[in-house]
């Protein structure tokens, strides 16, 4: 386990010393702040826009970080031949994969928490200024739902890192990004794809859609941003099942990466 932590630590260190990460984080903060400006010009929609845009910004930036840093997780180590150093030491290949995953997952945890704090302060500021108005329009502040939306968002990042990690262990960054975004897009709309297939009533496409629905993670499950704005029921049961769903999927993705990497030649 110590070796896993060492690898995770180094992955984290690499991420926070990476300029790509800084530009993305700065971009995220700018997006969150700009929601305030957009909000001031749109009257009573004020609060909705700060929350909505802010959560969307966290989502977009988090996904970009997951994909862009995820794609290099293993690929870079092979390409730059650092694997020769790592694996001349007594570390098992699966320990390395786990460490790489945890390192990026931890990086994203810090970034998500950071962005969430900034956004929450902003939301607090706007909501307290227009407290009566907000309560009238939205039936309350829905702070719990807000944090729940952030939490689910992080679960989605965990799955995306897992997908990027798989591609990273056998293909080039460009293909990795392409495939990861493709899977992400299908995953976000997998519910719709299934509905669409039911509409057209073609048995072949119905089976195809069913397979996609079953195999590709249904990322729509993690979007509860509208509940964070308008309120809505987020039961403990839903939170539990969504968490379990994310964990099981992530584990499956990790195991797949480990299997691919186990047989990999470094030549």
């Amino acid at each position: 386990m110590n070796r896993v932590i060492s690898v995770a630590h180094n992955t984290f260190r690499e991420a926070i010393r990476d300029r790509v990460l800084y530009s993305l984080v700065i971009f995220a903060v700018l997006m969150i702040l700009s929601s305030l400006i957009i909000a001031t010009i749109s009257g009573e929609q004020y609060n909705k826009i700060v929350k909505d845009l802010g959560l969307a910004a966290i989502s977009i930036i988090g996904i970009m970080i997951s994909v862009f840093l995820g794609m290099g997780l293993v690929y870079k180590e092979i390409e730059k031949k650092t694997v020769y150093n790592i694996f001349s030491k007594p570390i098992k290949r699966y320990e390395f994969i786990l460490g790489k995953y945890l390192g990026l997952a931890f990086t994203l945890l810090l970034i998500t928490v950071g962005m969430a704090i900034i956004l929450f302060l902003l939301v607090l500021y706007t909501e307290l200024r227009y407290q009566g108005l907000i309560e009238f329009y939205y039936g309350g502040h829905h702070f719990a739902e807000f944090f729940n939306a952030i939490y689910f968002q992080y679960l989605e990042f965990l799955i995306i890192i897992g997908i990027a990690l798989i591609f990273s262990s056998f293909t080039s960054p460009i293909l990795s990004v392409l495939f990861t975004f493709l899977l992400f897009a299908i995953g976000r709309f997998s519910g719709d794809i299934r509905l669409f297939a039911e509409e057209i009533k073609n048995p072949v496409s119905a089976v195809f859609a069913e397979v996609i629905y079953r195999v590709i993670p249904n990322l729509g499950k993690f979007n509860v941003r509208s509940e964070a704005v308008y309120g809505g029921s987020l039961s403990g049961e839903l939170i539990f099942y969504t968490t379990a769903y994310a964990i099981i999927y992530t584990l499956a993705l990790l195991i797949l990466s480990m299997i691919i990497f186990e047989k990999k030649e470094f030549k």
Partner: protein
């Protein structure tokens, strides 16, 4: 310590996966406590052999017995130190961060690790750059930190791929001393080089690798014995006259800097001198060509063309 037997490695290349054979039955063994040189021109397959030994590349045939293990268990690596060829490291790490990371992977930690790092950094003369990021290191500095990380676990068996490359003469001297110091501590060292001058002064035994085959193995002395010593004789005088006298002997003649130069093997030395005495030419100098593996190297290389 290490026994490689008939090692074969094929690579699939290109789009169609055409197979190329890089190692065609490499055999050699490294005895405990010796410095073993693995020598051959670029592209001979030295690095590929090391990758098979360490399990980075899967062998296509043959056997490798590394400290009693034949299928490369991970645990054995705690007794090995390895310096990859042209080491590239995480360029965002500083020298000491790299060493710490590598040490942690060996399960070394705390004060033991910090102490070991101090010792190694000063041993490879890198203490001044310990807090500098590796992206700012020169090739020679990377080589030094690479050797330091290979020694972090005090390994019994040290595998160094081209340890002298990228170093200036002083650096090479230092690395040689360091290798000899490890040997004196009872460690076994396997090093590769395309430079014969490196191994000649350092190795107990060498294997000569050419196009994926070991063509010679032995001590430096044994290999040198196989080489005929050439002599060069510088003469002053009439060329025609001399040619006449040495016609029946296998002597190469050439003109250099106004002198006539005769080149010949040791075994006909006496007869050549006798012939010269009879001629009208004056001997300016006679000297043996420096004994070296270089000749053997070139000879084998041309055989393999």
């Amino acid at each position: 310590m290490l026994e490689v037997n008939n090692l074969i490695k094929n690579f699939k290349t290109g789009f169609l996966g055409k197979e190329v054979t890089v190692l065609r039955g490499v055999s050699f063994c490294v005895e405990s406590g010796e410095i073993f040189g693995f020598v051959g021109p670029n592209g001979a397959g030295k690095t590929t052999t090391f990758k098979c030994i360490l399990g980075f590349a899967l062998k296509s045939g043959g056997t490798i017995n590394l400290m009693g293990e034949t299928n490369g268990k991970v645990g054995i690596k705690s007794r090995i130190g390895y310096l990859p060829e042209n080491p590239y490291f995480y360029d965002y790490l500083t020298g000491e961060e790299l060493l710490r990371y590598m040490g942690e992977l060996h399960g070394i930690k705390g004060k033991a690790l910090e102490d070991k790092m101090d010792v190694l950094l000063s041993k490879v003369n890198m203490s001044h750059a310990r807090k500098v990021q590796l992206r700012k290191y020169s090739k020679g500095m990377l080589q030094r930190i690479g050797i330091a990380q290979a020694l972090i676990n005090d390994p019994e068996f040290i595998i160094l791929d081209e340890p002298m490359s990228g170093l200036d003469p002083i650096g090479r001297r230092e690395i040689k001393d360091l290798i000899l110091e490890e040997k004196a501590k009872g460690k076994t060292i396997l090093l590769s080089s395309h430079m014969l001058s490196d191994v000649e002064a350092l190795c107990d035994r060498v294997a000569l690798l050419m196009s994926g085959r070991v063509v010679r193995t032995g001590t430096i002395g044994e290999l040198l014995n196989e080489i005929h010593t050439d002599y060069e004789l510088f003469l002053e005088g009439s060329g025609d006259d001399i040619q006449e006298h040495v016609r029946d002997l296998s002597v190469e003649l050439e003109e250099r800097a106004g002198y006539l130069v005769l080149k010949f093997d040791e075994d006909i030395k006496a007869r050549v001198l006798e012939a010269i005495m009879k001629s009208s030419a004056e001997i300016v100098s006679l000297h043996p060509m420096r004994k070296s593996l270089e000749g053997l190297f070139v000879e084998e290389a041309s055989k393999n063309e």
